[in-house]
Symmetry: C2
Subunit: 715 residues, 2 copies
């Protein structure tokens, strides 16, 4: 017997590991395919690989050029721009430019329109980033079909299209949704996880971790993101499985994606120079700027989404996508920092300038040193006055920053998959690089300032400031401002840079960004969208500090009709059917008698309906049959007139969670948040007084915070 | 008013950050001082820096030698061994060896005896690693003085002494205890944290994170350790503060400790070679070996500690320490891998062999290549057949492994500060290095085996196997087997190696180690010691899978005398005093009347005692005065004979947590684990039936698992 038990325990444990292994593999595969498709679609706007049309620009020109500069290269024999294919010449003539521009716009429009049509017709849930909804689902709310197969398929297909159309959005948020869909699909293969909502949520937490893991190539950051931002209940035993899932996904992604480098991470950077103490001031400034941007973005975007919902705009989702795409691509083609996709731009911005960098961003008037016989020596991190290329680049950076700031507000929330990580990182990186170059020039112009004179020698044309690090810090600050992530954000950025010493700048910026953001808009973008959509999500992180009591929140409120209850003996089938029809409550308390009002148990609406249907199917039961919710039920008919009694003891939950009417709401909120139940009964000295549901709690919190509870909730 | 509220919120938030900042700084400072003292004491056993006696060997010889090999160097002019000081010569003559040996033994004996005397006389709580107790405290149990100033001081002083005496123990576990003491001390400076046990526990969680952070220089690993292993309630809002605390501590440590390197971490390694797929087999084997070691260690150590407790041995703690020290130092001096302190040995074992390595561990018969005109070229990672030095080293490694395996069992649990991280890592690293050299020789001897032929070319005398990586993996496996840590262990090792690609070997080994360990001994060393000491700790990670009901666990059990209760009206002061005296219960339920048995509230023993004392001080109250726990209390004396009524409504908790007698124990366990209360009342239809305390739950779980509940608990 004990051996059998051991086998069962082993099988139990194995199925848990197997399900996360499968989810990790599926998420990694999805991410790999999406990655390849996205790269191809992005470069398809520019041209085609003539021999092998299925290759993107990078793979097509693989052997033909140095990979230092990705933005400026547009030349290898196999790769032809649209102008060349249509008979034009290689080069930058006006007509060629016009042809390329037109092709770019038309192709982008096709992509985004196709994405919008697919989403509207096949899987409306595939729109948006999905993170607010996954959060809500993990908190215990059920949205049927949100994590279904169709959503998985359509979101996987439309995400590359949306990114390929050069809209200001990313595929990283959607990847979390896609991974969660994988989690849901595979959970249903295992009865232990498919049939138990709580267990399924554990699996979904692991899947969300795998999503972030593959989105950025950061397994530890993914687990912490799931822990900090997405998950609601995160028992420690699932931490290990989430980690396994995230790592599996990252490895599968690396083996699926043939373009991957030896490093997992999306933007792997190693800086050669340490940061200096005085730089903490500009880093903190970047944090403040990130917080300002984040708060502004959250407010503007929520305003726009509310407007979309309440106006006629919401009725034309495809048209909206087309208009925004047209504006985006028309304005973004002329500027190289918006023409290329955002993740390439970010990668460019966070790099250090090396001796072989030839991009505009590294065009300094470098002092070259003569080293031996006629050999010029370029310093490892060249710097100096602004070159012409860098001056141009600064203008382009500033314009790109402004443009992305504005267009992202209108893009996030459209009815196509719209991730927010990459646009936020891009805005932050643009901002950070500008600030970084500014600080560098400040140090270059005033080399003798006591703040940096001792630490920073501008000798040999070598700078002590790394503008790429500022871009990294700025990116963290902007993303922090928008999402209010903290630890997971720092860990993600740490995994991206791979140097523990840069944690301090990142952490400083993230802290300032969160403080400023929280001061100016109380919630992150995900919580904002949860509230906007009226999902019943009870925020766990905020402390409930009010001193109200359960009696103040429970229904019935004074003056309302009394609570709908069941009495344990004597109600007829008809009475119960009327009770079910008369309202939409989730369940009914069972009392011993109407006189004593003593609470005996709780019956779920769903169970009651099933039981009533079963009773109807028995011929001896009529509408007048009395029902008994007690353990013992009189068997003989004679005592009770002409009807057979119906015993319903089995559907009663004999231990509903109940609190006294004097219980502080703090305790009630804690019970909801930690035990995950849907209602709490309120008693006084054993007598039932009322009921509190999760929605009552949310309504109460909204009231206490001076908001109109009915306006924001349950649309 | 709203402005004032905002100020208050700001102050509230700031005090939270301030307290963790102070704790981080204090923990970092303590760790820095302990580090310096430990290094000095360790090398004091070998000799003295003649000019500057306060310097340890490394600092004394700072400029005089290359730092490649730490084990073999014993030569710089300023540093003199005891034999030299006492008139001998530099060298390895027999008499000098004897003098050095004797000095080593005598000094080690002095250190450990002093430590044991200090602990016994000034702070008995300073013994052991402290982690089991910190875990128990964080779960809600109060051990007075355990985190007090004296413990902090004595543990900080005796930890370096214990490590300096070369016993098989570390200062890393004690650092967690020391950081928690700092946390407790600083929490008392802020009323918000000092007066609220729940808030204080949040601060202590952050302090524990700081402890691990400074112990190994791994801030992220520290936070995850606190989250996974130490903390019981870890609300997400404290995650960020814990991270801040851990990072502050790490930075302060780096600036305090002048010997620190640019990297934070204790053993920073970067390997040049990737691992190969077939190596997963030996890595998994290392995991199994680690699990076997861990399970064996846990069982042997718990057996020995139980023996110590129950026999006369426990009465002579100082003598025990002296005997174990004598055995340890006598046996460890002849072997260089036990003579040096364990962390230096680990550091040596995890390193790669480079072209300039001259230690015995890297003594391969390397093929040197001639490169141009007479220049010999040594490969970057030289390997080949075993040299004589390596053969000797292998014997020494094996002997050191066996010795450490055995002596650690007797060392952990003695009445001095004994950490377990370093000894476990050392055992694992010794084991891993042996396995690694074995695999390397296997590949060298059979270069054509198809398993590795394609991946691994033994060209140019260059190996594809890194025995140092095996040492790292083995260390993780052994520590995992002993403590059953998972995610935090992998993250700690990841932070130590700094390469995401080595996560897979580490994770594989940790998984196997945990599975094997769990199969052979159900609990980790910390949980074992918690059970051994009978602390009321309710394990959260294990699921409660039994189907018992609250009614089966509650007291009174059938046949026992009825529950001690208070009736809300009419009990006299005398009755209440007798009630308090007659038992040691934590509190008493309050009933409406003895007839109805309906529950009205709960009174804590402590509050009742204070209230009774206050009542005694009022002249009009006699022993016969009736008490009223109701809201309204009759004021007039005439109605009630000759005594004034006493109103005790204020001490009643009107909303005690109560469950129905049909509630499954699963729910009750969840309520205890998540809401952190000390008792749950059991009712049936509003009538009080009994009470369940946390100890009842623990006793019940022990019974269900076939253990004798009375034997193991509450000593």
């Amino acid at each position: 017997k004990t051996f059998l038990q051991k086998i069962r325990i082993l099988h139990d444990a194995c199925s848990g590991w197997l399900v996360v292994l499968l989810i990790g593999m599926a998420a990694g595969t999805c991410a790999g395919i999406i990655d390849i498709a996205t790269k191809w679609l992005i470069t398809l706007k520019m041209g085609v690989c003539t021999n092998k049309f299925w290759l993107d620009q990078e793979s097509c020109c693989w052997l033909h050029e140095d990979q230092n500069s990705k933005i400026d290269n547009d030349s290898c024999a196999e790769w032809r721009s649209w102008a060349e294919i249509l008979g034009g010449h290689r080069g930058h003539g006006a007509s060629d430019y016009a042809v390329n521009y037109t092709a770019y716009v038309i192709i982008a429009m096709m992509f985004s329109t196709l994405a919008a049509v697919l989403v509207k017709n096949f899987a409306p849930y595939a729109c948006g980033s999905g993170i607010p909804e996954v959060k809500t689902i993990l908190s215990g709310f059920i949205i049927r079909g949100y994590l279904g197969k169709w959503t998985l398929l359509i979101k996987s297909v439309t995400s590359p299209l949306a990114v390929g159309s050069n809209l200001s959005l990313g595929k990283e948020g959607p990847l979390v949704h896609i991974a969660s869909c994988c989690g849901n699909v595979f959970a249903h293969l295992f009865p232990k996880y498919g049939q138990n909502e709580a267990k399924k949520r554990e699996v979904l937490s692991a899947a969300a971790a795998a999503g972030v893991s593959v989105a950025f190539g950061v397994p530890i950051g993914g687990v912490l993101f799931s822990l900090e931002e997405v998950s609601y209940y995160f028992p420690m035993k699932t931490l290990w499985r989430s980690f396994f899932c995230a790592l599996t996904a990252a490895f599968v992604l690396r083996s699926v994606n043939p373009y991957g480098t030896a490093h997992f991470a999306m933007f792997y950077v190693t800086y050669n120079r340490p940061w200096l103490l005085f730089e903490l001031v500009p880093f903190a400034l970047l944090g403040v700027m990130g917080g300002l941007y984040g708060a502004g973005f959250v407010r503007a975007n929520l305003f726009w989404c509310r407007f979309r919902k309440n106006s006629k705009l919401g009725k034309f989702p495809i048209l909206e996508v087309m208009v925004i795409t047209l504006i985006t691509v028309l304005l973004s083609y002329p500027n190289p920092f918006t023409r290329m996709d955002a993740s390439t731009v970010i990668n460019e911005l966070v790099q250090e300038c090396g001796p072989t960098s030839h991009t505009n961003l590294c065009d300094y008037n470098v002092t070259r040193h003569y080293h031996g016989l006629n050999t010029t020596f370029v310093p490892a991190s060249p710097s100096g006055g602004l070159g012409d290329g860098l001056k141009t680049a600064l203008w382009q950076l500033a314009l790109a920053f402004l443009f992305k700031c504005i267009i992202t507000v209108f893009t996030f929330g459209m009815k196509i998959p719209t991730g927010l990580f990459i646009p936020s990182l891009a805005v932050g990186a643009l901002m950070g690089r500008i600030v970084g170059i500014g600080v560098e020039q400040l140090v270059y112009t005033f080399p003798d300032n006591p703040m940096w004179k001792t630490d920073c020698q501008f000798s040999n044309g070598q700078s002590c400031i790394t503008p790429g690090l500022y871009a990294m810090v700025g990116a963290a600050a902007a993303l922090g401002g928008v999402t209010r992530m903290t630890v997971s954000l720092v860990v993600v950025m740490y995994e991206l840079t791979g140097g523990l010493q840069y944690i301090v700048p990142l952490m400083l910026a993230t802290m300032f960004s969160k403080w400023v953001g929280d001061a100016l808009s109380g919630e992150g973008i995900y919580d904002g969208h949860i509230r906007l959509n009226g999902y019943p999500y009870l925020e766990q992180k905020r402390e409930f500090t009010h001193t109200t009591l359960a009696a103040d929140v429970m229904r019935p409120r004074p003056g309302e009709p009394p609570l709908k209850v069941i009495v344990q003996e004597g109600m007829t089938i008809y009475d119960l059917e009327e009770l079910v029809k008369s309202n939409t409550l989730n369940g009914f308390p069972v009392l011993i008698s109407n006189d004593s009002q003593r609470l005996m148990g709780f019956v779920c609406r769903k169970d009651l309906i099933v039981a009533l249907e079963n009773a109807h199917n028995r011929p001896e039961v009529t509408e007048d049959s009395p029902t008994y919710f007690t353990l013992h039920c009189p068997a003989s008919v004679s005592e009770l007139g002409n009807s057979n009694p119906v015993r319903l003891f089995n559907i009663v939950d004999l231990s509903p969670i109940a609190v006294s009417d004097h219980a502080p709401m703090e305790t009630v909120v804690e019970i909801f948040a930690k035990l995950g139940n849907r209602q709490v009964l309120v008693t006084h000295n054993g007598k039932l007084l009322g009921i509190i549901t999760k929605k009552d709690v949310l309504r109460h919190i909204a009231e206490l915070e001076g908001e109109d509870p009915e306006k924001i909730m349950f649309d």
